[in-house]
């Protein structure tokens, strides 16, 4: 117990010296009358898994969509590897090495596994689609990630929830060069126990490979099983950042709902 505490303190110290992979300063976003985000400041360091938690409407998805280029912030700046960047579209985010796996997976059910993995960035040889290369690379990445899909030419619409999630994650991981940051919005929300375990195992595998991940979840058990640090949003504000080793479920829940309610 004492060793863990010492380790955590040491981590904080070393993290302070490290350059953050991603830094948000003063990010705000308003939709009509609702201010979804109010001046959020945070840092994400390379190689860590950050669990982003908060109640419904706290602003978790909005914040991630801003990083992924789907929304533009009304105020605030984004810094990647210490340099100021502007992310206006999903393509800008992709170019920066940021990938996001959406809650609804954003898969095309009628298309097969390979087509979905390469959605939007299909490989070509001149004018023609290079199906052989796409098939080979898909099989390779799926194998590296330890995912089992019976047939790569199957339409993703008939696959199980866990398999679909795995394909969505594979797509995010395989966008060209090494991914800097992968964001997952409620990766196991719609899955049963078995499938959840498989996806969490995949997340740990990615972590083992040195990927930086942000995982949005409202399941405390899952968050505590994969996250290094936990960030809590409440009503658009970042109300707490904790190292997993230094905190408890109760502590986090208190931050989510506001301590006065407990």
């Amino acid at each position: 117990m004492k060793m863990e505490k010492e380790k955590a303190v040491a981590t904080v110290a070393s993290k302070a010296a490290e350059l953050p992979l991603l830094e948000l300063r003063g990010i705000s976003k308003t939709f009509g009358h609702v201010q979804a985000l109010k001046g959020v400041d945070c840092c994400i360091y390379p190689g860590e898994v950050v669990g982003l938690v908060g109640d419904n409407g706290a602003g978790k998805s909005t914040l991630m969509k801003i990083i992924a280029g789907v929304y533009k912030p009304d105020a605030g700046t984004i810094w990647v590897d210490g340099s100021l960047v502007t992310i206006r579209t999903p393509l800008d985010a992709m170019a920066l090495g940021i990938a996001i796996v959406y809650q609804n997976l954003a898969l095309v059910d009628q298309r097969d596994v390979v087509a979905n993995i390469f959605l939007g960035r299909e490989l070509v040889r001149g004018l023609v689609l290079d199906n052989d290369r796409m098939l080979k690379e898909s099989a390779q990445v799926l194998q590296e990630l330890g995912i089992e899909i019976p047939s790569l030419s199957a339409e993703v619409g008939i696959l199980s929830g866990g398999q679909r999630q795995a394909i969505a994650i594979t797509r995010a991981m395989h966008h060209g060069e090494r991914k800097r940051l992968v964001i997952m919005d409620e990766p196991v929300a719609a899955l049963g126990v078995n499938e959840s375990r498989k996806v969490l195992r995949l997340i740990k595998h990615l972590k083992g490979q040195g990927c930086t991940l942000i995982v949005i979840s409202h399941n405390m058990e899952h968050v505590f099983s994969v996250a290094d640090r936990i960030m809590v949003l409440r009503r658009g504000r970042l109300v707490g950042v904790r190292h997993r080793a230094e905190t408890t479920t109760i502590d986090i829940v208190r931050l989510i709902v506001g301590a006065e309610h407990l």
Binding site: A106, V108, D109, R111, L119, E122, E148
Partner: protein
């Protein structure tokens, strides 16, 4: 244990994939119809009849190529019949009332068709209006424009008999095979290539299958849809030229109701209205089936009024079969 499971799954998926090769079942239907008609009447299998059927299918199939792209992208163009008619009239006008060479005039008309398609596409994508409504309005506008341009009378072209334009659009290769078939086959091959083997084609399928997912992946969905509308418009222009070469006059009511035949060919060919699925080959088979039905009804001496009843019934049956087989494997 896990491997057995995988093999079983693999086998099931393989079988499913074959059945879902809807082109096979539609090909089966087309073949059945072919044999049925051959048995029902001796006139069907005559070479001159088969070539006539092929010629009739050609113009329909050419426009249906564009409609296939649109359906896969989950859009529709109800104005194709009127656009085709309008372009026939415009082409006749250009050839007979201006000094333009017929081939140049055809080029102009193809560009005009693409421009009308561009208009359809922009109205649909920029303003978020349903393509059903936009093209329904265009249907009326273009029909009215044809009538305005002609004053209700056909425009007759008086191109000399041996002009290459007449020969290449409506002549007979080797004196036997209608050139329209070559136009149809070439355009289908080109269309099939772009749809099935290029990145653009993959984007069309993605846009229709899940537009949101496509957009989030960086696919320019508005541009993809607009290009599909433009392809359709250009194909209407080509079809217009082929017809004009054949009948030598621009009749203002050309193509009235044609949009239904085109839609029928596409859906019978297995392309659903819901986007994400379909093929040019399927459309070719669908056009063949509708062409054979029309031909068969004439040869069998059925009343002309029976044709729309037959066509409408076939559409419903074809889509019903498609829907049921899909649901079984869902």
């Amino acid at each position: 244990m896990d491997r057995d499971n995988m093999d079983q799954k693999k086998r099931r998926l393989a079988v499913r994939n074959i059945f879902l090769k809807r082109e096979i079942s539609i090909l089966g239907a087309a073949v059945l119809l072919f044999f049925g008609l051959s048995l029902a009447t001796p006139h069907f299998l005559r070479i001159d009849n088969l070539l006539l059927v092929a010629r009739q299918i050609s113009i329909l199939a050419i426009i249906a190529i564009g409609m296939t792209f649109l359906f896969i992208a989950r859009e529709i163009d109800l104005s194709v019949g009127s656009m085709y008619g309008f372009l026939v009239v415009v082409l006749a006008f250009l050839i007979s009332r201006t000094t333009l060479d017929p081939w140049v005039a055809m080029g102009v008309v193809i560009i005009a068709g693409a421009s009308l398609g561009l208009l359809n596409g922009l109205l649909t994508t920029l303003f978020g209006m349903p393509s059903f409504i936009v093209t329904l309005g265009m249907l009326s506008i273009l029909r009215g424009s044809s009538l305005l341009l002609t004053g209700g009378w056909p425009i007759i072209i008086r191109t000399s008999e041996d002009h290459s334009f007449l020969n290449f659009t409506a002549g007979y290769a080797g004196g036997v095979v209608p050139t329209q078939i070559f136009w149809m086959i070439s355009l289908m091959l080109i269309g099939g290539f772009f749809l099935g083997k290029t990145r653009f084609g993959a984007h069309v399928y993605a846009t229709g299958g899940n537009e949101e997912a496509a957009r989030l992946s960086g696919i320019p969905v508005k541009r993809v849809k607009t290009v599909c509308f433009m392809i359709t418009g250009a194909l209407c222009g080509i079809a217009a030229a082929l017809l004009l070469g054949q009948v030598r006059s621009g009749f203002p009511l050309t193509g009235a109701g044609f949009e239904l035949d085109i839609i029928a060919a596409v859906v019978i060919g297995g392309t659903p209205l819901f986007g994400g699925r379909g093929s040019i080959l399927g459309t070719l088979l669908g056009a063949s089936i509708t062409g054979m039905i029309t031909n068969g009804l004439v040869l069998l001496g059925a009343s002309a009024y029976f044709e729309p009843v037959a066509k409408g019934s076939i559409i419903i049956i074809a889509v019903l079969i498609n829907t049921l087989t899909r649901r079984k494997y869902a």
